[in-house]
Subunit: 308 residues, 2 copies
Amino acid sequence: MTQEQPIRGVLAPVVTPFSKDLTPDPQRFLAHCRWLLAQGSGLAVFGTNSEANSLSLDERLALLEFLLDAGIDPARMMPGTGSCALTDAVQLTARATRAGCAGVLMLPPFYYKGVAEEGLFRFFSETVERVGDARLRIYLYHIPPVAMVGISPGLVERLLARYPGVIAGMKDSSGDWSNTRTMLDNFAGSGFDVFVGSESFLLANMQSGGAGCISATANVNPAAIDRLFRNWQDADAGDQQQRLDAVRGAVERAPLLPALKAVLARYRNDPAWATVRPPLVELNAAQGQALHQRLDALGFAMPGLNDG
Amino acid sequence: MTQEQPIRGVLAPVVTPFSKDLTPDPQRFLAHCRWLLAQGSGLAVFGTNSEANSLSLDERLALLEFLLDAGIDPARMMPGTGSCALTDAVQLTARATRAGCAGVLMLPPFYYKGVAEEGLFRFFSETVERVGDARLRIYLYHIPPVAMVGISPGLVERLLARYPGVIAGMKDSSGDWSNTRTMLDNFAGSGFDVFVGSESFLLANMQSGGAGCISATANVNPAAIDRLFRNWQDADAGDQQQRLDAVRGAVERAPLLPALKAVLARYRNDPAWATVRPPLVELNAAQGQALHQRLDALGFAMPGLNDG
């Protein structure tokens, strides 16, 4: 057997649409996934901007099954499977791995704060052992501003030493380039793929041996982000990066996840897309209007929406 | 029908025993619950020190059923039912309420940080509406050092105005007496029961119109804490408080939850009790020895363990 190529490039933490009664809407979810794939983006379903932790385990499993049954290519998927509960993490990771997903993106357990590195090591180690599948590829998810529990270089080192090949990379959403740089310098040489958590760092990451980005804004601007990923060595890469930054800046001046859904609602002409689950709150009218004006001023568009 | 008396006094966030394979151990759990009840403590199962968020929803539901089937009185129970996912919170809250539990102790959804009060209001509001049971009594769980998402006086005020009677009280684990004082001053007069999250504040809480405490250390020192609750107006209340503080201080010089389990393992002569789930880590030998020496120096004992 040949070794599968690891997943690289641009992935969207796919936003999860809800019906009015706040149940996940699989048809809209599938349409959005198809559009993202057509635009060159992979599918990091069940991420922070997917409201994954606002979904029950059963809801996540059902959405995953729905995508697989609909023929979405698991080799383009990196589902989020981290959880506070080891048993939940194991169940979702095992299902994704058995389905042939390219990898899983794992938050550390995030309820207890200030936990020992040893405890985090055991959590990931137990997950690997219990899943017990040679196809498992874990990408560690470092997002201290939200999870408040991080993935330290020391933890990466221990896990890589114990599970080489299985520990496949990380997503760094620290927003701290010096941390990303440390991870690249220490681990990228041994095939550990570092994704940045925002396209703002995409060019820098590619210039430093990184693997791509997994970014919220890829839900609305995937083709342009993918273009920079593919052409980061071109002369206009800096200009491309600036245009990506302008769009991201326009979106994230509002609360990011509700803003993404507001953009989807507008460009799909489908107000239902704006729905979020508590504890998040949708944008109010003024926030939405200001967001759309900022994007219009940049000539922002969402091409190919009919592909979905 | 007469109105049930609300649950007051001392409750233990019941520690959850695990087998070697890290599955919850219902028999040891039941034995510990029976001992706690015999010592005068109510059962706040599925709290922070129960490793509740390290359990799947199904594991929590199964443990609850096991206790109910074994005849544990639901009127002495206040299960923790908060969750990041609305659907999980609703399912567990509905089950506990239907079973006749005295109330439920609800964490706010704790993954997203810096969420709007409106989003938290909607989370609790949706829970009340979806459970749709007049017997529901919600105790709000404020533990900002761990959850990082708190319950503000403004949120309590909105919820009380909308759901009087259902919003029954709170547990304040801020460790900040001025916050507890604010909650007591603002809300206790209208029948809102304030429990402190540590027996260190029990006397002060009772002197100020509070309802009791829900404290980790009640897992090992329930009778003495209950004695102060019942006799806080006695002349020796200050001395009692000091003795409680000494025991708590001896325990919490080690990591608190593993320390509680180490104490149970020792006094039950049952090493299996020391097991914790990742990301927590059991005490090492030196930590355990020092803990036991501190307790021995205080003449600490756990009477009546044969009751379980």
